[in-house]
Amino acid sequence: MDTKISAVADKKGIVTLKTIQHTLGKHTNLVTLVVLIVALGIMTGGRALQISSLQNLMVAEAVRAFAALGVGLIIINRGIDLSIGQVVGLVACVSASLAQTSDYAGALYPGTVFPVFLPIIVGIAVGTLFGIINGLLVAYGNLPPFIATLGTMSIAAGLQLIYTRASTIGSLKNEYKHIAQGSLGPLPYLMIYVLAAVLILWIMMTQTRQGKAFYAIGGNPQAARVSGINVKLNLLKVYALGGFLYGISGVLLSSRLGLANPLTGDGMELDAIAAATVGGISHSGGIGTIGGIFIGVFTLGIITFGMTYMGVDSYYQLLVKGMIIIVAVYFDMKRHAKRA
């Protein structure tokens, strides 16, 4: 039949066109990152682009990367999470309090010797617990995610102050600090953790039913529901997973800093969300990749790094950062424009 032949021809045309578009589309984020790196290289005469810079960058962004991965997954499921910074801060305080040297008189539990794994486990548990609460509120309480997590953000901030009595928790054990500060040859541990997390989450999102379910829920929750996917349960899962990742983020933060206080983590939510978005995660849900989030984190990272390296006045840094976020996402959005 004629129709079919033409349809086939049509399709071929579409495939090639689509493929190019797709490839280019995927690369918008990578292109931005590369452009920034090249620009930095030119502006510093190549000096900024050494191995040690890369290490610095990785280490600096690792903690944020976990938060961005968490919230990125949540945004793919049409959610948002404002509680990140405070939850990370709370986790950092709790884990730090369990990792203080036992002979430190100012410790929260002076004289008590906890095993090194305890702060890690408790910290991650606290993060996950907050994730579960967020998930319950959003999935089963039908609260808009913005508001549910605004509420838990406030609660986490309060708990942090109550727990620490507004003081700094320092003097952490060296074994504990080693978790984030150590390195394997030239490879900082933090970098290894991030790469491992990216790999595992990438497999989850592309190779398992769980990932397909997340994408479907983000793309069209009704369609997911009638396809037999338990939307509420999956929402709970993704918020819990987010909380779990914030937990890791908080533990690594306290370990890296060797301390924690109520200001720790403040404002991280905006950085994490910005990173995920710059990395191509769409706020209308269902679109984005783990690799994209990773790229997004490093795009913002290179901006901060570059401005730090070049000593840009901090007042102007805010200006530049705001503009770059807008421009980066603008180019990324151009390909989604027709869906608006």
């Binding site: 102050l161 507004a166 700094t168 060797g258 206080n261 390296y309 840094q317």
Partner: protein, 347 residues
């Protein structure tokens, strides 16, 4: 890698947060000094984020910077920073937030060039002690030994909030008062929040407090504005008259920290009662000179900076409590800004 071919002295400055008045003034003075001495100053602002300060330190270290002026975010982080700097054979002078004893013990090239935050609280207490000595009738409950105070805190957990508040209470207690906290809350350093809190407290505690103590001038001014608009003044019909002659037109004294231009101007109108000058210029000059001496002469040990000599014996205040490092401590004096001397601080 040291920058080849450049004879210029390089100094790194890691600054807590230039949103804060004190820190902003500190940074401005550093820039001025660097320009005068032809120093390449790499000044970075960590926006209250200790992780970022650590990242910035790493970046500067890879750029070959060895000598630093640091306004840290937290005392507890100073030891790690000192170790990193020491690893490249450098040194640093810490200001405003004290370094820990351990940080100064890392090497003799680490210095305290500061007036610790707690001194601000102590001076607030002194000023109030003088005030109540002179005006015992201003004690709300008639007990000349009990002060009924309202506290306005900065962002909770912020080192300046913690140390200033603790020291003010301790100072009053040491002066022999019982301190009765009528109301206390954070206004996150913000004047508008302070104003709203004060409005509410006036509804709840009118006539039941005899002083408002704020962790900074911004909040103090917010409280002043609230007291004025609520006519909590000596003469409700004319808010410019200091009827009882206690130095303020308000019924109670309000006291801040920072001695900002606006605060001093307010004092000139007898609204704000007093404030405390954290000497940003003094601290930053001292710290800068220490770093400059290290960079140019290899060491600053035992030398004077900005005319200040290192301590010779231990004091009660950390970190100058350890004889081993007492010679690395340069204490920059604070100044009380009161009705007697505020004119010296006018811009």
């Amino acid at each position: 890698q040291q920058e080849a071919g450049s004879e210029k002295v390089t100094i790194g400055a890691l600054i807590r947060n230039t949103d804060e008045q004190f820190v902003a003034d500190y940074a401005e003075n550093l820039k001025k000094l660097a320009a005068e001495r032809g120093v390449d100053l790499k000044l970075l602002d960590s926006r209250s984020d200790q992780a970022m300060q650590l990242d910035q330190l790493n970046v500067l270290l890879t750029q070959g910077v060895k000598h630093f002026v640091i306004v840290p975010n937290v005392t507890e982080a100073t030891e790690d920073m000192a170790k990193k700097i020491d690893a490249v054979g450098g040194g640093a002078a810490f200001s405003n937030i004290q370094p820990s004893v351990e940080a100064l013990k890392v090497s003799p090239n680490f210095y305290l060039a500061s007036s610790p935050e707690s001194v601000a609280g102590q001076i607030q207490a002194q000023i109030l002690d003088e005030y109540f000595q002179a005006h015992p009738e201003k004690m709300a409950n008639g007990d000349p030994n009990a002060i009924d105070a309202i506290f306005l805190y900065g962002q909770l957990g912020h080192p300046a909030q913690v140390f200033r508040s603790e020291a003010a209470v301790k100072g009053l207690k040491d002066a022999g008062y019982t301190v009765n906290i009528v109301a206390e809350d954070t206004a996150n350093w913000k004047p508008d929040e302070a104003q709203a809190k004060m409005d509410t407290w006036l509804a709840a505690y009118s006539g039941k407090f005899d002083v408002v103590i704020a962790n900074n001038d911004g909040m103090a001014l917010g409280a002043v504005e609230s007291l004025l608009t609520n006519k909590y003044t000596d003469d409700p019909s004319d808010p410019t008259k200091d009827v009882d002659g206690d130095g303020t037109v308000l019924r109670v004294p309000v006291i801040g920290v920072d001695a900002t231009g606006v605060a001093v101007k307010s004092m000139s109108e007898k609204k704000l009662f007093a404030t405390v000058l954290q000497d940003a210029v003094g601290q930053s000059t001292t710290a800068f000179e220490l770093a400059y001496m290290m960079a140019t002469e290899g060491s600053a040990t035992g030398k004077d900076a900005w005319g200040i000599s290192p301590l010779t014996e231990v004091t009660g205040e950390s970190p100058a409590t350890d004889a081993a490092i007492v010679g690395q401590c340069y204490l920059v004096p604070f100044a009380a800004v009161t009705m007697d001397n505020y004119k010296e601080f006018m811009q």
